[in-house]
Amino acid sequence: MSEATNPLGTILISHRAIATIAYQAALLSYGVVGLAPKNLAEGLAQVLVKDPMLGVDIQYDGHDLLINLYIIVEYGTRIKSVASSVVDNVRYMVEKAIGVPVTEINIHVRGLRVSNTD
């Protein structure tokens, strides 16, 4: 749970909500063709239910908001550039939506999708 407190009360935003924003932002980024399960358990669960936070991991310790993304990239793009634009995109969308600064975004490129070879 991420929270913000003002004199009127407290706003709690669940990890799941943040993950959904990050997931959508990642998919809108050019070069990202999908997200990948973080681990086997998630991979199995995904077969049963479509999870809107697949491949997104959120950690918040009251100070720092960390986002880990597990992505699949289109073959033939420059992975480094794709990854950094995902970071920009996700950071922008998440910060805009929840107003909490994101401390760290880590991108794990879990695979490439080959549509064409040259």
């Binding site: 998919l27 990202v32 793009t77 920009d88 064409n116």
Partner: protein, 562 residues
Amino acid sequence: MSGEQHPTSSNQGGLKVRQNLPVDGQDLKDLIEAALVWLKTNQQTVNALNVFPVPDGDTGTNMVLTMQAAYNEIVNSGEKNVGRMAHSVAQGALMGARGNSGVILSQLWRGFARAMDNLETMDAAILVNALVEGRKTAYKGVVRPVEGTILTVAKDMATAAEDAIQHTQDLLEMLEIVVDAADRSVKHTPELLPVLKSAGVVDSGGKGLFYILEGMLRYCKEQSLDTPLATVQPLALMNIENSMEEIEPGQDYEVVVDFKPYTPLDLDRFYNDLSQIGTSIQIGEGDGMYRMHIHVEKDKRDDPLKYTETLGTITKVSMENLLAQLEENRGGVVSRLSFTPVEPGQIAVIAVSPGLGISRIFASLGVTGIVEGGQTMNPSTEDIINAFENLPTDKVVILPNNKNIVLAAQTASGLTVKKVAVIPSQSVPQGLSAMLRLAPDGAFDDVVREMSDALQDVETGEITTATRSVELNGVSVQKGQVIALHNGKLVYSASSLEEACLGLLARAHTTERERITLFYGANLDKHEVNRLADKIRNGYPGQELEVHEGGQPHYQFIISIE
């Protein structure tokens, strides 16, 4: 770009396009160069448009860098085969792709090259294929294409080319049709993407792609590539602050004039006249008002004003000395740690800190100076004296924050005429705890006593790796194990950081305390820190846990328990 570097010097490729002759590898190279030059000329215009998705204003720059990388790949190539040349362009663009629009651009080139695979020359039909293939490749790179972006412009270009090939085989005409389609598509982007519409702009990446194609066309028509066309931005969107970064030597003054023209403004003339006066010209328009922005030399700083007066009624003028501002900004960056300045008669505190993060915390608590040093890098007596000798006060408190530095600090206090007290803090937590009791205007002896008393308020834990095997205080340690020190005494050894931290907390009087603060060291993985913090939080739900970056070497953690 100076004149002779331009492809226009020979205009071989342009001539061929005009005569509708097949274009070979060298001609393509000329076209690419023209595209790059024209994009560069209009780089700032593209940058100024950037609102989506991250308003960082660098789309133009990213696209220029990508095209530059593509051109660098072929600049010395004598390749005649247009297919192989196109592959080199794609390769260069791929390697140099910067930013979202750069990546998309590189994909367009990749498709473009694939369509020309091993072809000797390019004609209108092949150009159409290449544009179509570029569109296909670019669209494959994204799950949810956002329309109203560079992708849409690429798509519209390809569609227009597909239609046109039914009734023309002329290469120049085809290029004109494509550029025209790109132009219309760019102008249509705000209708597709609300964020553009609300900002009153067109898509920056799409505009960049338009300039690339238009550069080729202008080259073929032998039009100039190094003077930007007059462009007018919506007034609300003029991004004048950003222009600070690119001050040309000698152009020290920024002048912004708002005016209402007497007669409709001839933009091209206006732009040309301004470019005689200065650089970084931007023109904004809104509601019958115009705003012009220009960088000029010191002597010419009144010229924009005099010139604008001949055209209309001036409503507002602002003038700034950029050079002076820039220097001011630079000064600010250097001293990132902001210390509390001390006034004569106040008590100054000098703290020894083992890492940047800890220095920041000390600075935020009001120390006057920091001496870097810690376990294996003890500062010299001289370092310590230098830190306070020039301060405008004669009352100084030193926090050595390490057992081994206490002595050097005491020596320093004997070598100065100032009144110096060393608070024998043996660890960072003790030093921080003492800082909390500082009253800069209090009586010196009282403050020193208070601060010394505070050392007892806190327990210190330190987690580090054993450098040799030893048995001490009944704890046996193997070299390489993680060890925990409680108030400087070895209390626990373990094989993992987690075990050592929990072992330490169990041996300290943690449950009687209120707060645990972790200062994690340099080179420690942030995830590991967070995992550990979660463990501690679970184990000690009654205590508040804070985690700070300490940045100290050797010690993975310094833990304060108070």
